[in-house]
Each structure stands twice: as C-alpha cells, then as structure tokens.
Subunit: 221 residues, 2 copies
C-alpha cells in the first residue's frame, strides 16, 4: 500500500451543492433547478457552483446562495461531502453539500431575478414519489431532511425558518413540520420559553385574539 501509484493523485474539481430549505403553505420546500446541460439535461437537480481556486468552501456556498436567491446573510451550514459522485463520466468531482434555511418571506422578495429555472419543490412529496433527480441528489436531500429533523430537537435551527419577529404559533408550526407530528401548545411554549424574548408588538386585524410577537433570545456570547 505504500507503493501506491502516485500518478493516481490527480487533482479534482470541487463543487458545492446547495440545499435551500424554506416553509411555504405549511409545507417544507427545497429549491431545485431544471438542468439545461448535458449530464441529466432537463432533469431537476440541486443548484451548485464550482469552488474557485482561491475561494474557501464557505465562500463558494455563500456565492452560490447569492446567485440562486439574491440573498446574502442567510443561515447555512456544511452538511456532508460526497466523493463517489460521477457527475460527469469524464471528470471526478468532489461535492461538498451545504444546507441553507430561509423564511419564505425573504425568499419571495428576491425570487425570479436569478436562475429562471429555479422552483420550490415539496420535500416530503419529492422523497416519497418516484421522481428522478440528477446524480445522487435525492439521497442528499433525504440525508438533509433527516438531519433537519434531528437538529430541530437540540438546536435553534428552526428559528432560521421564521422571520425575525414571529408568533409562537408560527414557530410551533415550523417545529411540527420538521418533526412531522403535532405538538401540544402549552408544552411547546414551556419548552422554548428560555429561547425567546417578548417584543411589545402583536398581530392585529385577524378575527381572533391578537398574537404577541417574539424574538430569539440574544446570543449568550
């Protein structure tokens, strides 16, 4: 094994695949694009960009998110690196996947300006249907979906799917969607109470009691 052929250590292309999640109409959605180029032409795929030679992975992810959504400053984290991908039979590609979360209101504000073929796909529908996606992208989405469900229980990741000021009903809905099950209102409120602070704002105009708006508790740094 020491005498491994050193000519095999060729350089490779490195790409970043983006999983931009949002919640629209009480459903978890993911941003997909319709490919125009040849490997998997006319097939849906995750948006992605190649990593520049002088660009960090995080910067490439940020650039990709900017190109696809027009947004900077949205939450994202590295997910996993897939190395057995044969995106193109002629060249080896390492694909570093990043997961981004954005409230639908921010996304709608800037949608359509960029990649015209981009659209939001219903995640549960996508994963249970037989619809084909390019490369191993369906498995990547399945993995991200699983991570999202886990992380919602022990992190504040759900907050990135609501706006800065939110009602507890909205936040609870996000938790319910990510966990895939209904929650008791009183218990939910008890549990997240240490993670939020009241604002002096409320909703109004609805034909029922107004809802107080909350914010995430300031970071303890």
């Amino acid at each position: 094994m020491k005498g491994y052929d050193s000519s095999q250590y060729e350089k490779m292309s490195v790409a970043v695949d983006l999983l931009v999640f949002t919640i629209e109409n009480d459903r978890l959605k993911i941003l997909l694009i319709e490919r125009s180029e040849d490997p998997y032409a006319n097939v849906s795929a995750l948006p992605g960009v190649f990593v520049g030679i002088k660009e960090t992975l995080d910067d490439a992810a940020k650039r990709g998110i900017m190109e696809e959504t027009g947004l900077t400053d949205i939450y994202f984290e590295q997910l996993y690196t897939f190395g057995d991908v044969k995106r193109d039979p002629r060249m080896r590609i390492i694909s570093v996947s990043y997961m981004a979360l954005v409230p639908i209101e921010k996304l709608k504000f800037t949608a359509g300006e960029r990649t015209v073929s981009a659209y939001l796909a219903d995640v549960e529908e996508l994963l249970t249907s037989k619809k084909k996606l390019a490369f191993d992208h369906k498995e990547i989405i399945r993995y991200a979906r699983w991570r999202l469900e886990n992380k919602v229980e022990y992190t504040d990741i759900a907050f990135h799917l609501v706006e800065e000021n939110f009602t507890l009903s909205e936040l609870q809905k996000v938790y319910e969607i990510l966990l895939g099950k209904p929650l008791y209102k009183a218990n939910f409120r008890k549990k997240i109470s240490p993670m939020i602070v009241e604002t002096d704002l409320s909703t109004s105009g609805d034909a029922h009691r107004p809802s107080r708006l909350y914010r995430r508790v300031p970071e303890d740094v």
Copy 2:
C-alpha cells in the same frame, strides 16, 4: 457574479485527514505523526493521505487507517471538510476529515509496524496546552472532541472504544471520559441496559467480585 472568471475553477488536491481516537490508561488519546516534510517539518500533525482519482473518500480513509494502524474493519465516520487550508502555499488542498474509534487493545496489537513516527497524544492535554500542531489540525481535533462528547449521548459510538466483550465498569469509564464527568453506576446501568446483552463470561483473578462480560445488542436491522 455570473461572469465569474472561469479560469479560476482549477482542480485541487483532495486529502483525507484521520483522527484515530482510542482510550489508554483512562485517558482519551489520538494518533498523531511527526511530519518529516517541509510544510511544518518536525511538527506533530494528523495522519492523512491523498485521495486517488478513482478512489471514493471512504476508501481513501480506509486506506489511510490501514497504512497508519494496520487495521481494517474499525469504525470510522466522516467528520467535516475544511477548505480554507493552505497546507502548501503552492497548491490548494481540500481536506476531508474522518474520525475513527478503536479499542486500545486492537491498536497495540498492530502498532509500530507502520509509520514509525506515529504516537498517541493525550487529547485533553493537547487541547489545553500551547503545543503547536500543523495546519489547523488543533481546531479539527477540538471539533472532533466536541462531536464525540455530543454523540456519546444519543448514539452507540462509545461501544467502538471497548472490545467486543466488555464489563459495564469498562463501558461506564468510557462514557465518563467522553463526557468529562463521573456517572452513577446504578443509573448508568439502567440507561444502557437496552443496548447490551449478557454473555456467560466473567472476569476472574482480580481481588474482588468478578465482573460479567457483556456485548452490544445485535443490530435491529
């Protein structure tokens, strides 16, 4: 941003960095090597290998573990991918880190045959001391240490640090080391009882009551 200079999308070298953890003398240890080549010559570093052009990332990790420890079939998982590493000023390297866990008994059995400069470093000591490591390896180790502490609480990852047959005292010690705090014996046993099965074996020869040996419960697949 669309007109990004395409000549920047050069290919890069991809390497795998290995974090081989074990427990020796009731301390968490990690396998390090003393570098002989120039970037950071004579400085301790994580062992690593370049990824072959036709080799998956997992296979490269497996090969690296084999080269460093002589072991196949030990537990490992991908940790994180670091892309801002400037291992060598002349070339860009993407480093995919893998974490491996192995009981010390297996490691000792095959030690010394491979990389002569390899040694086991005390992890807590390393992280609190001012000792310099090559590249950003110290931060990688800190991240892995943190992940280990988290995962021990909701996975069966600790089992990979004991032999196939183990006493509950041994297993408890592993948990205590990874969590960094003592545990109550009775509570610990209640908690892991669903994850283990008795064997009909016991320790003997010690000047105290013998300890029953247990195994991990068979996978529910």
